[in-house]
């Protein structure tokens, strides 16, 4: 067995885990990050939702119950985390924009408006004024994107369809990396498009440098261009993940990718090491502290059996809101199912409540009471608790 030693070992490669790892790496700690695979943020819009709805997200955070992870993390962790996130994304060439105190609109694939906090620059021009005319570009055969929903929902709009020769979002995004393809797209658009004020495209404008692609189109057409986030697989989600992962690698974080934790070594009230299930021989990863950031049910951090919910890495006790038949209420479109509260209860230091484990910290949507869907606070909560848990962890190690 190979053995490695770190200051901190983070389990979970989503937004919260990478944020925590980055925070610690910037403090000069030796950090490892273990992930079973690409995180669920690849399925997200790529936008940083802090708190649902229009207006100032802080106002709604102020109304959250005391047990909510945002409240535990404190305003500083969220504010500092968002500023940190903006800086990291700038460094990675995937700049985000947005005000920390005022949610901004993006347009959904069915033509409705959704409010979120930080958006990739490629969605910056989504703030369409009522008087403006919009042209939507779609791609032949693309699934999950029906431009007539958009033109129906947005007055003074039209659409046209480009044949990219491939119909998957990932395939089209890859083609936009190619100069020739981009050139053909632009000349097609110049030929077909009528004078409109803005141009919307499903979020497929390249993988590595979407800003360049957007700017090229925008410049050629002489008007703003913006992306509309699509259903999974989501290219902006994938870009977000790749940028975060790249940042961690650039700051010296060590990645164990595609590997799950197969066993835990515990010494009294401390986790000493984890063993990874790898092809070939097993690897033992030792840490002075550990951070659990495996997410909730979708990402597999929690698993709901018929009678009980378990935490899948350390076997931590899970807070479960009542019996199974109470987990979901009857209305699909009314957010707030009780099961959203399920998760790990932590103390003020983001360690599992009960004091049995002294060097394990928990962050992200696996935290009890987070109600991510109801609050629409996914990446915001991941960032705030990632920073908060990392700070507590650094303090514990000092």
């Amino acid at each position: 067995m190979s053995a490695y030693e770190y200051d901190v070992v983070v389990v979970g490669g989503g937004v919260s885990g990478i944020t925590a790892a980055l925070t610690l790496a910037e403090k000069g700690l030796k950090v490892a990050l273990i992930s079973k695979g690409d995180p669920v943020c690849c399925l997200s819009t790529g936008c940083v939702d802090v708190m649902t709805g229009e207006g100032d997200p802080w106002q709604k955070i102020g109304e959250l119950p005391a047990g909510h992870p945002y409240v535990k993390a404190g305003d500083d962790a969220l504010r500092d985390g968002l500023v940190f996130f903006l800086r990291i994304m700038e460094e990675q060439g995937l700049p985000y924009v947005g005000s920390l105190t005022e949610n901004r609109p993006i347009i959904t694939p069915i033509g409705t408006v959704k409010h979120t906090c930080l958006v990739p620059v490629t969605m910056a021009a989504s703030d369409l004024a009522k008087s403006e005319r919009l042209h939507v570009v779609s791609f032949k055969g693309i699934k999950d994107f029906y431009p007539s929903y958009l033109t129906n929902g947005i007055s003074r709009s039209s659409f046209s369809v480009f044949d990219a020769g491939i119909s998957t979002t990932l395939g089209i995004a890859s083609r936009f990396e190619d100069e020739g393809f981009l050139g053909r797209f632009i000349s097609w658009l110049q030929d077909t498009e009528n004078p409109h004020d803005r141009i919307a495209v499903p979020a497929v404008l390249g993988l590595r440098d979407p800003v360049k692609v957007m700017e090229r189109i925008s410049k050629a057409m002489g008007r703003p261009v913006f992306e509309i986030p699509t259903l999974p697989p989501s290219i902006p989600g994938l870009r977000l993940f790749r940028a975060l992962k790249g940042a961690l690698q650039a700051k010296g974080g060590h990645l164990y990718w595609g590997k799950g934790v197969s066993s835990i070594e515990r010494q009294g009230s401390e986790i000493e090491a984890v063993t990874l299930a790898t092809a070939g021989r097993a690897a033992r990863v030792q840490g002075r502290a550990f951070i659990l950031a495996t997410g909730s049910f979708v990402s597999g951090g929690l698993y709901a059996g018929r009678d009980a919910v378990r935490e899948t890495v350390f076997g931590l006790p899970v807070f479960v809101p009542g019996e199974r038949r109470e987990w979901f209420h009857a209305q699909f479109f009314t957010p707030g199912h009780a099961i959203e509260k399920a998760g790990i209860v932590v103390d003020d230091c983001f360690r599992p409540a009960g004091g049995k484990l002294k060097n394990l910290y928990v962050c992200g949507s696996i935290l009890a009471e987070s109600e991510v869907m109801k609050n629409q606070c996914g990446h915001g909560l991941a960032i705030a608790t990632g920073v908060a848990a990392a700070r507590m962890c650094a303090r514990g190690l000092a």
Partner: protein
């Protein structure tokens, strides 16, 4: 106004079977159904073509009807019957006396049985509980109730019968106390139509009493809710029954790539407001896993429930044809056919039409048992070879339904109902239960101009709510995980949730 001889209310197996029978006897008729075919109990059953074994100990007459209809349907409905065979398994503690009575009565009724050792039974169904004492094989089959209805309706249409689905009966027209017609509402256009006929056949199952009342009579009924669950794997290739008196969760039926287990029995008042209770799911799953242990750990994709329309035992004006079903002549121009089961739908139709012919004083002979169902070649479903034809434009990834198939179905039916596409192509029948593909099918539907984008989104919302109703009682494990992903798409990315 439509004028015909016989008006049939109800597009379940019985109603569709009556339509075919009338068509083959040359009687003009019109069938009205408020939803799609198999909307009630027909579509919410096990999809089991009984050998009769289930009834043989307590009700030999019903068992005898089952085995003779079983033989007929194997012949005439080859494309909707899968000749799986079935087993009755005896677990430790199950009565040996029941087993002896079972074998004796099967012999008397003519149900072919073979007693199998546990080893032999496990060869046939490797997932069986290895603790079984023995198994008895019977000629059970699985049957596709929806396709059965469509094929019966196909003959009717071909012979000039009117089949109106998505038409709700809103009133019965009476003259001097006699039922002479019905008024129906076309649910897609809200247009009200009148249909006049000489006889009205009430084949509306759980809604039978309500329909009979509109005609000035009534049918005393007991409504019994039965709930089933669908496991995401075909854990058995044979129907598996528990060898004991009929009770909850004692039958598992393979169906295409999945298998179904049920049922429960709970008395209810209103057939329009029934829900599966999660406790019923637990009950059925617990019973099913006694026969097939892996049923308890396999992902459940959905639960569903239907209402058995049982006749109250001693209704004074009923004519007892058999213990399985009854034909009631209300002597006001309406005839109700009540009770029975999917396996004997053809016999029920035959007896009902015989009663109608008696009224008309004509003697055309029933031929439904001799002639194979028409249209079996056209409506064969989608074998894998067809489904993989255009892999690039797959709309439903679980069941491999491509865009062309969806468009063809929309255009050939002229339908604005998503359920019509799902029933005919199996779109949305897989593990995600339409969570991803229904959005696409509706996107295509509005692109074909069949509905406006706004209507399409409204339809999507209604579908997602209906879908959730089926999924919610059985949410744990991987299905819960996927459900939260589906939720994150519609409530998150598309922001369709209700906000306070």
């Amino acid at each position: 106004m439509i004028r015909t001889d016989v008006i049939i209310i109800g597009g379940g197996a019985t109603g569709c079977g009556i339509a075919r029978d009338l068509a083959l006897r040359g009687v003009p008729h019109c069938l009205v159904e408020k939803g799609d075919f198999a909307n009630g109990a027909t579509g919410a059953c096990h999809g089991l073509l009984h050998s009769g074994g289930r009834y043989v100990v307590n009700d030999k007459e019903a068992a005898s009807e089952c085995i003779s209809e079983n033989a007929i349907l194997r012949k005439i409905a080859q494309k909707c019957v899968e000749k799986t065979g079935g087993l009755f398994v005896r677990l430790p503690g199950d009565s040996k006396r029941y087993r002896d009575a079972f074998l004796k009565n099967c012999e008397e009724v003519g149900i072919a049985t073979t007693v199998l050792s546990p080893t032999r039974a496990l060869d046939l169904v490797p997932e069986l509980n290895p603790a079984i004492e023995e198994a008895i094989s019977v000629p059970d089959c699985s049957i596709d109730p929806f396709r059965l209805c469509m094929l019966n309706a196909y003959t009717s249409r071909r012979k000039g019968g009117d089949i109106l689905i998505h038409h709700r009966v809103i009133g019965v027209v009476r003259e001097k106390g006699v039922c002479v017609g019905v008024t129906v509402e076309d649910r897609s256009s809200s247009e009200v139509k009148e249909i006049r006929g000489k006889v009205i056949i009430n084949a509306s199952g759980a809604w039978g009493d309500a329909v009979a009342r509109m005609g000035g009579s009534g049918v005393p009924m007991t409504l019994s809710k039965g709930s089933l669950i669908i496991a995401n794997h075909r854990l058995t290739n044979l129907v598996v029954n528990r060898l004991r008196p009929p009770s909850d969760g004692d039958i598992i039926v393979p169906n295409e790539a999945v298998c179904l287990a049920g049922t429960t029995s709970v008395t209810v008042d209103d057939p329009d407001s029934i829900e599966v209770d999660p406790r019923e799911v637990d009950l059925v799953a617990t019973q099913a896993e006694q026969m097939i242990p892996r049923f308890g750990t396999t992902r459940l994709i959905r639960a569903y429930t239907g209402v058995r329309p049982l006749l109250k035992a001693d209704s004074p004006d009923s004519r007892n044809i058999s213990r399985g079903f009854r034909i009631i002549d209300h002597e006001n121009g309406m005839i109700s056919i009540m009770g029975g089961k999917l396996s004997t739908y053809r016999l029920m139709a035959e007896k009902t039409v015989d009663a109608v012919m008696g009224k008309f004083g004509t003697k055309a002979r029933c031929r439904t048992a001799e002639l194979p169902l028409d249209g079996q070649d056209e409506l064969t479903g989608y074998p894998l070879s067809k489904r993989l034809k255009s892999i690039d434009s797959i709309v439903c990834e679980c069941e491999l339904v491509d865009r062309e198939t969806v468009e063809n179905t929309i255009n050939s039916l002229g339908t604005g109902y998503i359920g019509d596409i799902q029933h005919r192509t199996r779109l949305g029948m897989g593990p995600c239960q339409g969570g991803f593909c229904t959005y696409r099918a509706l996107g295509i539907m509005q692109e074909t101009g069949r509905m406006s984008p706004t209507e399409s989104i409204e339809t999507l919302k209604a579908f997602l709510q209906r879908r959730f109703r089926g999924i919610r009682p059985a949410l744990w494990g991987d299905q819960l995980r996927e459900e939260q992903l589906v939720e994150s798409i519609y409530l998150g990315i598309l922001n369709m949730g209700n906000r306070p």
